[in-house]
Symmetry: C2
Subunit: 239 residues, 2 copies
């Protein structure tokens, strides 16, 4: 690119900035979806839940727009090195964001059922998990387009607390189901809601990994150990 006239290079910078702005905009919609879905669950607000479900198509449209723009950038600007990495990162980040939107919509759907079948069920643990997930999601979206790899690493590590909370909630829900069969339908939905939040946490770490890669050109040194241990959970009781 060194031999090209300056206005061409600047214009590519402008394109990259537009790409980052589009991601920030989509990220804002996704953060809002997660916050609203969590609020709809904890505050038993089926109308808010319905809005989250309706708005999911806007998130999908945004993903499509970012992809179209990124592919056009690749075709017209033919970026290399750092610039190419930034465009590839954009394509992958919006893929993660779209999935987070899907999980938020699924939480919203299930929250409507919870409201019908178990409007008095204790939801404090899930509320706490949801707040933590939202914080990490926002921090990870903020790292996109920034140049501090340490910040990306910090976000990446913060997911461990989400996993720990998930494990605790999973065990509690199994216990509730054991205690009273009438809890089973609600607890099944709550279990999938917890799993959705845990998956949102995984996508959050993915975004942080992608930022790290975009900045440094390298993958994170080792894979973060998966903190979800519920796949091998066996309930034991002394009763």
């Amino acid at each position: 690119m060194a031999d090209e006239p300056k206005h061409i290079v600047s214009s590519f910078e402008a394109d990259l900035k537009k790409l980052r702005d589009m991601i920030a905009n989509m990220g804002g919609l996704v953060e809002r979806a997660v916050a609203d879905a969590s609020s709809a669950l904890v505050n038993h607000d089926p109308e808010l839940a319905s809005r989250v479900i309706e708005n999911d198509s806007r998130i999908n449209t945004e993903q499509h727009n970012v992809e179209q723009f990124a592919v056009r950038l690749l075709a017209l600007r033919q970026p290399v090195a750092d610039d190419l990495r930034q465009v590839i990162q954009a394509l992958k980040v919006v893929n993660d964001l779209e999935r987070v939107g899907d999980y938020a919509a699924n939480i919203a759907k299930r929250s409507i059922v919870i409201n019908q079948v178990a409007s008095n069920f204790p939801l404090a643990g899930l509320g706490q998990m949801a707040r933590l997930v939202q914080q990490n999601l926002q921090a990870s979206i903020d790292t996109v387009g920034e140049s501090d790899p340490q910040k990306a690493i910090a976000v990446w590590r913060a997911d461990q607390m989400v996993d720990d909370l998930y494990n605790t909630i999973f065990r509690e829900l199994i216990t509730y189901m054991m205690e009273d069969a009438r809890n089973i339908t609600a607890c099944t939905h709550l279990m999938f809601i917890a799993k959705n939040l845990e998956r949102i946490g995984d996508h959050t770490t993915n975004i942080a990994e992608l930022t790290y890669y975009a900045i440094t050109g390298e993958n994170l040194p080792d894979f973060r150990p998966k903190g979800d241990v519920t796949s091998t959970y066996v309930h034991t009781t002394t009763n």
Copy 2:
């Protein structure tokens, strides 16, 4: 590209072929992982399950290799139009395949627990669902690099049967849990296994959509309605 010497064009064709071969190779590993995880579950074979879990890192490595190769292609060959779409498709397909590998590993993990806590549990429905998912996955991987959009549409539609089976299995598992609290741990794992298979079905339709896009340059005309209705399931009983 029209003015370039023929050997350059041919060499890019060779690169695209290599890319397709790499995807086919990774696809083979992923198909094998799903088949082995299902077999480990249905035939109570924890050793096979352990191999699936161990082999997941090979799938991740393959994804990484395809990505590296695709990004190098973008940087060095700077493809446009159809060629660019094929490289973008490759990047996205391997993302789906990697996720399918993760789901297979998770099924394998849970199958080990099922073997410990419920070795006599009826698994015929899950076995049937797993076979259908494997068939569709193989068909969708076969469409990559082919030029028949109708074939991609057929694969895309076939997922409806997977969703129908998932809904049936979900209802059955809730009933088992209601009948006897000692079934709860096993049924919870079986529910997540069924969900994993359903998600593999979703990634299968994604791959078919990506093939359709790579061939035609257009997205599929309308979104396939999601056949998973369990998010709004409420158990009702006359007992």
